[in-house]
Symmetry: C2
Subunit: 204 residues, 2 copies
């Protein structure tokens, strides 16, 4: 037992721990700029050990981006997103999208940085557009309902809304210890919701 803990075995790597390393390298070097060699070096395991878990770089991208997409699309099925007024559903989606973005920060960062022409990248871009369209439809519904202003076109409003939310991947860094991190995340989530729906102006 002592021997085992002193010398971690190669197969102590799971797909999840491999993904955690992979997503970091993809975010630093870009998906294009990352080789299996880079991943092997960063993970501290051989390429053949990586191939034991996945078919290659493209599958790693699909798994990492898939984790972000599962989180985001999962929101749209939550009761808060399926029942109530369009405004209440949109508020739920904005709040939860920001929460998921902060909770899955490296994975959503990768999703938002994907560019390019491989099949896996095109698929990620397509899924991202699909999510944006679902939210834009909700914005349009809330405008029709009369609870959102009608003078900003829903598609434009949605783009600016996601501009604000997605900018978090550029600067948000969780604090060192868990409790502070949680407080700070909650503070950011509240600020996004308040600014999105009510803007900077003081009430009254």
């Amino acid at each position: 037992m002592v021997e085992t803990s002193r010398t971690p075995r190669r197969d102590s790597y799971t797909v999840d721990t491999l993904l955690a390393v992979t997503v970091q390298v993809f975010n630093e070097r870009g998906y294009d700029g990352t080789s299996m060699e880079d991943l092997s070096r960063a993970a501290g395991i051989s390429k053949s050990s990586i191939y034991h878990h996945v078919k290659g770089k493209e599958e790693l991208l699909r798994l990492a981006v898939g984790r972000a997409l599962d989180g985001l699309f999962g929101i749209l099925d939550e009761p808060g997103a399926t029942t109530g007024t369009a405004l209440a559903r949109l508020q739920h989606v904005v709040h939860r999208t920001t929460e998921v973005l902060l909770a899955e920060l490296p994975y959503v960062t990768l999703l938002l940085r994907v560019r390019g022409n491989t099949a896996a990248e095109q698929w990620a871009l397509q899924c991202r557009r699909e999510f944006d369209h679902r939210v834009a439809a909700l914005v349009a519904e809330a405008v029709t309902e009369g609870s959102l202003r009608a003078d900003v076109e829903p598609r434009l409003a949605t783009r600016l809304l996601f501009g604000m939310i997605n900018s978090l991947v550029e600067w948000y860094r969780p604090d060192g210890d868990g409790s502070d991190g949680d407080r700070s995340a909650a503070r950011v989530v509240d600020a996004v919701s308040e600014l999105a729906f009510h803007g900077l102006r003081a009430a009254g």
Copy 2:
């Protein structure tokens, strides 16, 4: 005369036209990933012709980013940004920053994408932070004045505000002809100002 117009001379390139090509290549390939060879090919002139105008890649970055910075810092000296309530000054700055971003789209895009460790890149990042700090100070002043909500910390509000504005470089593309482009830019500028200060909710 006819001969001259049929055979453009190398020195018909000015620093401005060279910059227009350069900024496009930097935005496509990244500053790091661009060689003088790439620039020479994209501009259709020899490397020595480029060296006739500038010392090298780093000077091109400084000039291109400088154009964006001149536009942005110029706003802070405009009468609308120096007189009136803090709220009125901030509204002017938000409106004009969005206008300048759209008018100088490729140059501001480059400024916002700069990462890295060369002196020119560090200088660009430093200038960008300085601009953000100046706006954050104005936000703080407007909070003190009572015209902006006090429940969102000024630095956080400023980051989210710029998140929304800066996201334009990711998706805004001017329409084909000038007049349409102008109408569409004006519409986007108005939408940013409205959402920033009043949010998505319908009034009342």
